[in-house]
Amino acid sequence: MDFRTRLQTWLPKLVLAPSLASTLVFVYGFIVFTVYLSFTNSTILPSYDLVGWHNYWRLFQLPTWTIAVKNLAIFASLYIAICIAIGLGLAIFLDQKIRGEGMLRPIYLYPMALSFIVTGTAWKWLLDPGIGIEHTMHLWGWTSFHFNWIKTSQYAIYTVVLAAVWQTSGFVMAMFLAGLRGIDNEILKAAQIDGASNWNLYRRIIIPQLRPAFLSAFVILAHLAVKSYDLVVALTGGGPGRATELPATFMYSYTFTRNEMGVGAASAVIMLMTIAAIMVPYLYAELKEPK
């Protein structure tokens, strides 16, 4: 084999090597490190004294953690379901040869471009009964209007859902729109000739074919939900009380403001395992049959 050919067979691996190395160190190395930390008595900075399962034991004793996990269940299920419903609905509507689609699409998409600080600032305002929507309605004469969820422990988590849906549903719409645009036109014609009403056309033919889009949307939303941190901090700061605490905020506060890095690491490990439980089957399916 001449030198050039040999080089050419090595080059691809060489090109991939830095990415791979950095992933191994910066992702997997750090994960291992975190797992290790979760078994130590680290407080303000990492320490290397092992304490066994103590941190996990404490974690599950903490009422805040229970609240965080429960909140995540509520938040994630609602957030994913509503985003997909709105995203799919808008995509279907937008796909009906709508005049002004070019205008509407960026309007739906732009929230994705904003940072949590901006989103949080704006929504905190809108939702605040004293200055926001409730106040405006009162000024407009609808004095019986009440919308004070953000101040109510039972409902505050739903305002987080609202703001999160606002931010990402447009992006989900774009994913579904892309999926819809990829469907073979002849299939739609065939279904019409077969006598399918528009309702049946979508229910039986089109939506089932959006499976890949559903899967992508689900994975992206699920991991966003589990990682959700910024929005909660900016919108409610975890309050009222601890009513909107999520695992990500929990982990941050235990690691960085409560100086209980060990417990923080334990919660991170639980979160990672949750993410892995979602991702690994997806990745497996994705990579099983190389296209």
Binding site: A190, Q192, R211
Partner: protein, 370 residues
């Protein structure tokens, strides 16, 4: 008035008219093939019959009642698409019965109909598979099954075989032919493969640029093409087309062409009326199979003319040998028996069957009627 009447139908996309005043009447049980080059409007016309495209002007009627504005599902038609358009998320069985289900047929009936069709198409063992697990030919069968099960008034096919390889195409062609003979349903079939058109159809409409160039039986289209477009479009290899001059000799009209060396050669016309063109230029058309070696010439022909000319290239193709020569300055192809003894460079006596020759008016490009 026929079974399916397309009267004066025009289709425009915005300012662009892509179909111009199409008039076709199809009888019950007919197999009409629409052929023409890509973009000539075949699919558009088919979609209009199906109701998938609006009609800009004119009328489409089935059994005498107008279909303009009627929803596709209400027209009692079935359609098979080029890409088959199988529903990827349903099994073969569900694909076949979906149309019945949408029309509210009860389940047992649907099952029975599906079984019958599956048996007819020999796809019983595939009923539980998804389309993604089928080969091209199997998909094609399922698409047919989906159309068949509906028992429609009219079948529409949009290039149903063009995604198959050559061998499978031939097989499926035969199956469609048999199907038509057994069921007797009216069929409108789009293709741009002229062998398909010739073998399947009872009548062919040759289209070009949104106009119907000629509508007739395969034999009419092949033997008496309306114009040069039709003549060269139908047949493979294409009809040889060359300029010629009509001269009178021995009291009969002859076509004067030049051979490879530029020498003038005369071929006597079978049609006496060509005498009217004496002294004028025409376009002469001779199909490759009408130029052969003397041994292979049609014994039934009344007018075999001999033409001495140099052979340029020989292409043995197994069943035949194609020979290229120069006539009136252009390439002409002759089709000979596989064993014909002919070599490149040789001076050869070609036998030209002038019974099969056609002449075109060079100005209008229309055929000069016999």
């Amino acid at each position: 008035m026929g079974f399916l009447d397309i009267s004066n139908v025009t289709k425009s996309y915005g300012a662009v008219e892509v179909l111009h005043k199409i008039d076709i009447s199809v009888q019950e049980g007919e197999f009409l093939v629409l052929v023409g080059p890509s973009g000539c409007g075949k699919s558009t016309l088919l979609n209009m019959i199906a109701g998938l495209e609006g009609i800009s002007s004119g009328e489409i009627a089935i059994r005498g009642s107008t279909m303009n504005g009627v929803h596709p599902s209400k027209r009692n038609i079935a359609m098979v698409f080029q890409s088959y358009a199988l529903y990827p998320n349903m099994t073969v069985g569900q694909n076949i019965t979906f149309g019945l289900e949408m029309h509210g047929t009860p389940k047992p009936e649907r099952e029975a109909a599906m079984k019958k069709v599956a048996a007819m198409l020999q796809i019983e063992q595939l009923l539980d598979r998804k389309p993604g697990q089928l080969s091209g030919g199997q998909r094609q069968r399922v698409a047919m099954g989906r159309a068949l099960v509906r028992n429609p008034d009219v079948f529409l096919f949009d290039e149903p075989l063009s995604n198959l390889d050559a061998k499978l195409r031939v097989d499926m062609r035969t199956e469609i032919k048999k199907l038509h003979q057994n069921l007797g349903t009216t069929i409108v079939y789009v293709t741009h493969d002229q062998i398909e058109a010739m073998t399947l159809s009872t009548r062919i409409a040759v289209m070009n640029k949104g106009y119907v160039q000629q509508l007739g039986t395969p034999k009419e289209i092949y033997d008496t093409p309306a114009n040069i477009f039709v003549a060269t479009f139908m047949g493979s290899p294409a009809m040889n087309i060359m300029p010629a001059k009509v001269v009178m000799a021995d009291g009969a009209p002859h076509a004067e062409v030049t051979d490879a060396d530029g020498t003038a050669r005369r071929l006597r016309f079978s049609q006496a009326n060509m005498a009217e063109w004496a002294g004028r230029e025409i376009i002469l058309g001779i199909r490759p199979e009408a130029i052969t070696d003397p041994d292979g010439a049609d014994r039934k022909s009344s007018n075999i003319q001999s033409l001495t000319n140099r052979v340029n290239v020989t292409e043995p193709a197994g069943s035949d040998t194609f020979v290229t020569t120069t006539l009136s300055g252009g390439d002409a192809i002759a089709r000979m028996r596989a064993d014909a003894e002919v070599r490149a460079g040789q001076i050869f006596d070609f036998a030209v069957d002038m019974d099969k020759a056609v002449a075109f008016d060079p100005r209008t490009e229309d055929r000069i009627p016999a």
